[in-house]
Symmetry: C2
Subunit: 126 residues, 2 copies
DNA sequence: TTTATTAATGCGACTTTGTTGCAAAATTAA
DNA sequence: TTAATTTTGCAACAAAGTCGCATTAATAAA
């Protein structure tokens, strides 16, 4: 299955890139000047995610946020996403924290995925 | 608003205590011998949460899991929940990891809440 | 013990998130 | 330009979680 270059994807990718923070489907919807179908947005985002173009965080609101991968080191195109995200309770912004975290797992446990999110107030809102 | 001792609450609390892991609404529902209304379960759990009796994790499936607080240190009844949870992708079990994590926040950032979840395979399933 | 107060439950309706099937539109290759 | 197949839009759907409101049940008062 070969990917195709479509307008929808370009628009969404642009918004993600220029935003610099992690966006929910809803935030994207409102950033888009023209209406785009909800299902399409989700499909584009998940495609990006599968291709390793963005990463995904699930907030403590249970909502998925997608962020363009800028500073991720990608050895053999595998992302290192072991970092935390920070969600501001006031302005709603979701951003990546730089520090990579190593979590010590008990013996026999195998890490597959990582979802770390801190809520609080960012430097502009505190 | 004074709390009352009800059967529903006792049952749910028992299940949470004896389970030892973090349970979703659905898991609780199936553990209960008698049917209990969905809304009631949620209300009981959120009450427990507000009272600091349990803590809440949101999985990367966007679902809330509630766990009875056993080993939490509670200085002045404030819980320290800065630990990770581990969710097994095979058996579905969600458990608390012991290590307390300190995340270095950038200057001006204020931590309010913490949600850390690792997915993978537990020692019984790996 | 009986009654009055009010918190908790059950039911229903609802909102929101996210997914999926299928026909129409758009992209790429031939 | 045509053919092949990926994407999109629409609709329908499932599941999680919340809320209003009448009824039930737990506590306090008489």
């Amino acid at each position: 299955m070969k990917r195709r270059r479509t307008q929808s994807q370009a628009k969404i990718l642009n918004i993600l890139k220029s935003s610099g923070s992690a966006l929910s489907h809803e935030m994207l919807q409102s950033e888009l000047e023209a209406e785009m179908d909800r299902a399409t947005i989700y499909r584009v985002l998940n495609r990006f995610y599968d291709d390793g173009l963005v990463h995904k965080v699930v907030g403590d609101d249970g909502i998925q946020y997608f962020a363009y991968c800028a500073g991720c080191d990608k050895p053999n195109n595998k992302h290192n996403h072991n970092h935390f995200h920070f969600k501001c309770l006031k302005c709603g912004n979701v951003e990546c924290l730089q520090d990579k975290i190593q979590i010590p797992l008990p013996k026999g446990y195998v890490l597959k995925d990582f979802n770390g999110l801190i809520s609080g107030y960012c430097n502009r809102c505190s």
